[in-house]
């Protein structure tokens, strides 16, 4: 990676456009020796909530065709432990990689409380707001599916912090573009698209859902066409609006070409999730493949490709 792969986005400078997605890289420490995230654009932490959460009963994961379902249930160490133990370690090992902390809550107040606490820490470069975890028992109406909740969560957190605030939207809505618009109006500095799709697998032998909680979130290559469509749609919609913010493309990215699909559709950065389970070095390999692509094709900076698929 001799080339300059720097991407400027949300006022931050990412050494390359590849980040690891929330919930698929732990807190960085579990896999630093195998895939040091300091070589990546950034790390997005597992979602943090105010209280520690034990998470859902097993089984929590199962393979599906070209993908997997997960129902982790936002298991996490909780705000206090995260700030005391995890964040310092992450900051120490991040090098040039940006540290993005993903947060969630079960009420607008909790979102704001966690956001304010995390956002006041100098080690943090940006906040990602998880608006749509379909796994939590609270039910299947997510914050991300209701425009008013999106507005209140994003503007609530926005007012409390000076960092970039990224709204992570769920694809499980009738019109993702209008929710993106609400998030931007409420002050989001960027959009992450997409979270998992709601799904279920049934164990035919046992005649019951495989996962302990029944439903789970679908990720992996199976959902890439859905993610690319969401990015393209939101990008198209923003081109018609006044306010434009960068998009972070997520969903089924396993190789450089997959990442390019998202970039051409309008993403400035990408996140790699499930692919890290299939190959522990996937995020680094993808960053390298993008750099090689730019070199071969004579592209000065990957940012020159953002949204090019809209020109046809």
């Amino acid at each position: 990676m001799g080339l300059n792969q720097t991407v400027r986005c949300m006022g931050l400078s990412f050494q390359n456009p590849v980040l690891v997605a929330s919930g698929t890289f732990g807190y960085g420490d579990e896999c630093y020796d195998i895939m040091p995230f300091s070589s990546l654009g950034g790390l997005v932490t597992k979602t943090i909530t105010a209280a520690r959460r034990e998470g859902n009963p097993p089984p929590r994961i199962v393979e599906t065709d070209a993908g997997m379902l997960n129902s982790i249930g936002l298991a996490n160490v909780g705000l206090e432990c995260f700030l005391a133990e995890k964040l310092p370690w992450i900051a120490q090992h991040a090098g040039l990689a940006k540290v993005i902390v993903n947060i969630a809550g079960f009420s607008v107040d909790e979102f704001v409380e966690v956001g304010a606490a995390v956002g006041s820490r100098p080690e943090v470069d940006a906040l990602e707001i998880n608006l749509g975890c379909p796994n939590v028992r609270a039910g299947y109406i997510h914050f991300g599916a209701d425009p008013e909740s999106v507005r209140r969560v994003i503007s609530g957190v926005r007012k409390k912090v000076n960092l970039p605030v990224i709204a992570k939207l769920t694809p499980n809505v009738t019109d993702i573009a209008s929710l993106a618009e609400v998030a931007i109006d409420a002050g989001a500095d960027a959009l992450s698209l997409i979270n998992t799709l709601p799904g279920m697998k049934i164990d035919v032998a046992e005649r019951r859902p495989v996962l302990g909680m029944g439903f789970g979130g679908l990720s992996g290559p199976a959902i890439r066409p859905v993610g690319v469509a969401c990015v393209y749609k939101v990008c198209q919609h923003m081109q018609r609006m006044d306010a434009q913010v960068p998009i972070i493309g997520i969903g089924g990215i396993s190789c450089g070409t997959d990442a390019l699909e998202y970039i051409l559709a309008g993403a400035s950065l990408v996140q790699v999730g499930t692919a890290s389970f299939v190959h522990p070095q996937a995020p680094g390999n993808i960053a390298r493949e993008l750099a090689e692509y730019c070199e071969t094709e004579g592209i000065g900076n990957i940012s020159d490709l953002v949204g090019l698929a809209h020109q046809h």
Partner: protein, 268 residues
């Protein structure tokens, strides 16, 4: 040793019992470092299968110093894919992963109980224990539902290990369950033995029900749960264990296990 991901070629694969296979590949680094109870994640070479996630398999044997052998049984998509492999085919191997059995239980007698396809780590443990400076007396119980599934372990069980096979259909060995044989052996123990087990959840739960903390020197079980990452980053593979005030705590089978103190796992 920190785990490594390698693309390796299958050197040998053979059918050893009904739906049961041994697959071998060279992977010198892990072969030198792995410990009984640890496992690796096996995945298809890109494009060579429709299996998506890697699957966990216990180390079964190390042969010729650099060759790792896995004993597996077919259940679904991944194990059927593995059964279709032939020498020369490439697979991804990520390991060694997980913790290992405690090999210094401070007991004169050791009882190993493997049920069905839970036998591989038990065999590796038997071998390792027999190579200790002062090996304990080792009883090994290997149970299968039917005789047709019994793997011939004559060549892999170390000398001086007393091996008893049980089958539910009685076609091979003693007719009955692993637990019945275990109970018989326990009765012969004069000092608290160490008990290690790996097998179907129901079997391990039954074993747990037979044992009392004070009466065994050590009770370790190698557990199974669906896995994605194999290294503690997805939180997908949790096993319920007893937390404070009998609350349930979920711990990752891939990093805090697969070997657990059998008294701490919540079996119900």
């Amino acid at each position: 040793m920190k785990p490594v991901f390698e693309w390796v070629r299958v050197t040998q694969i053979s059918s050893v019992a009904e739906r049961t296979f041994v697959i071998a590949f060279k992977e010198p680094k892990s072969a030198a470092a792995l410990e009984p109870g640890q496992f690796c994640m096996i995945s298809p070479y890109p494009g060579s299968s429709n299996v998506y996630l890697p699957r966990p398999f216990s180390y079964f044997r190390v042969s010729a110093n650099d060759t790792i052998e896995i004993l597996f049984r077919t259940f679904g998509r991944a194990t059927r894919w593995m059964a279709s492999l032939t020498p020369g085919d490439r697979i991804g191997v990520f390991g060694p992963l997980g913790n290992a059995f405690n090999q210094h239980p401070g007991a004169e007698r050791v009882i190993l109980a493997g049920g069905g396809i839970g036998i591989p780590p038990i065999i590796l443990l038997a071998e390792s224990l027999s190579r200790l400076a002062n090996p304990p007396r080792i009883d090994l119980i290997y149970g299968e539902a039917s005789g047709s599934r019994v793997v011939d372990l004559a060549k892999v069980v170390p000398p001086r290990v007393c091996c008893q096979i049980t089958t539910e259909d009685g076609k091979i060995g003693v007719k009955g369950l692993v637990t019945e044989e275990l109970s018989r052996i326990l009765d012969t123990c004069k000092t608290p033995p160490a008990v290690y087990t790996c097998g179907p959840r129901a079997m391990m739960a039954a074993v747990a029900g037979m044992l009392t903390p004070g009466k065994v020197a050590l009770f370790e079980t190698a557990c199974e749960e669906n896995m994605a990452c194999g290294r503690g980053i997805c939180q997908g593979c949790v096993i319920p264990v007893k937390g404070e005030e009998d609350a349930t705590r979920y711990v990752c089978c891939c990093t805090e296990g697969p070997v657990f103190n059998g008294f701490e796992v919540k079996w119900d």
